[in-house]
Amino acid sequence: MAIKIFKNFIGRIFSNIFRNNKEIKLGFYGPPNAGKTSLANRICKDFTGEEIGSVSKIPHETRNVQFKEKVEINYKGKTMMFKMIDTPGIATKIDYEDFLKFKVKKKEAKQRAKEATQGIVESIKWLEDMDMVVVVLDSTENPYNQVNITILGNLIARKIPVLIVANKIDKNKSDIKKIESAFPEYEVIGMSAKYGDNLEEFYESIFRLSKKV
C-alpha cells in the first residue's frame, strides 16, 4: 500500500515536470491579411529576438507553414515553452488577377496564386496537429465569413482550445463587439499586433488556455 502511494506520488511529480517542459504547439489561423504573422512576429521578437516571417499588404504573403521552436514565454513569473506555428491564411478562392492590383507582375502573380493555394491545403492539414490555436481576425472586416466558421468548427470538433484575437483595433473601422457577438462562446481579445496593444491580456489568456491542453 505504502509503495503504491509512493509510486503515485513520484508519477505525479514526473508528469508535472514533463507537462511544464512540454512544448505546446500554438497555431495562428485565420483569413489572409488578418495579421497572423504580425502577431506571431511580435511574440517571437519579444522572447527570442527573431521574427517568424515577413509581412506585407499584399494578401497571401505567408504561403508556407512557418515555425519557431522553443519559444519560452515568461509572464508574471510563470514560464511556458511554445512551438509557434504561423499558417497561411485560409481562403475559398484565389485569383491571380487580385494580386495585379498591388502592382505585382503577371508572372509573379500567377506564381503567388499557385503557392497560396498550396499553402491553404497545408494549413488545413496542420489543423489536427495543434495543441492550441489563436484565430486572428481583422476587426475591421465582417466576421460572418464561412472560412472563420469552418476553422472554428474544425477546432471544436477536435477539442482544441481556441482564443480569438480581434486584430487591428488601432483602425477607425475596428468593431470588436461584432466579433464578440458573432462568436459569443469564445474569449475575444482586441489587439493591435502592429503596435503591441493588449499583449498583457493576450499572454494572460494564453497561459489560462494552456491549462486545457
Partner: protein
Amino acid sequence: MANKKNLGKLKGFSIQFLPYSEIRDLNSDGRIRKILGVILGNNILILQGRLKSDEEARLIGDTMAMIGHIKNFRGIELAVISGNDDEGVFMKFKKSLANVLTGADLGAITIIGPATVVKDIKRNPKKIELLLNK
C-alpha cells in the same frame, strides 16, 4: 460527375437544389464528389442541411488543389445559414432531437458556387446576399 463546362465569365448559370436525402448515405468522399460535380458544371448549389466541419475544410482543400488544373477555376464561394440562435431552450432541444434523428442539421442551408459565377456572399446573422460576377 457532371460535365465540367468551361468555367469562364458568366454567360448563364443555373441554381440546383440538393435535398439532404441525396447525400445522407454517402461518405465524405462521395459527398464532396457530388458537390464538386454540381459546382464544376458552373452551377450554384443550394444544399439542404450542412456538411460536417471536416468536410467543409476538405471541400476548401480539394477545390484549392484544383485551381490551376481546371481552366478558369478560381475556387468557390461558400456560406452556411443556420436557424435562429436566439431561440429558447425548448426549441433548441426539439431541433437537436430532430438533428439526431435525421443525422443532419436540416434547419441549415448551404450555398456553394464557383468563384467565377459568385463574386461574393455577404452574410450577417439575419440575411445572406449573393453577388454575381458580370
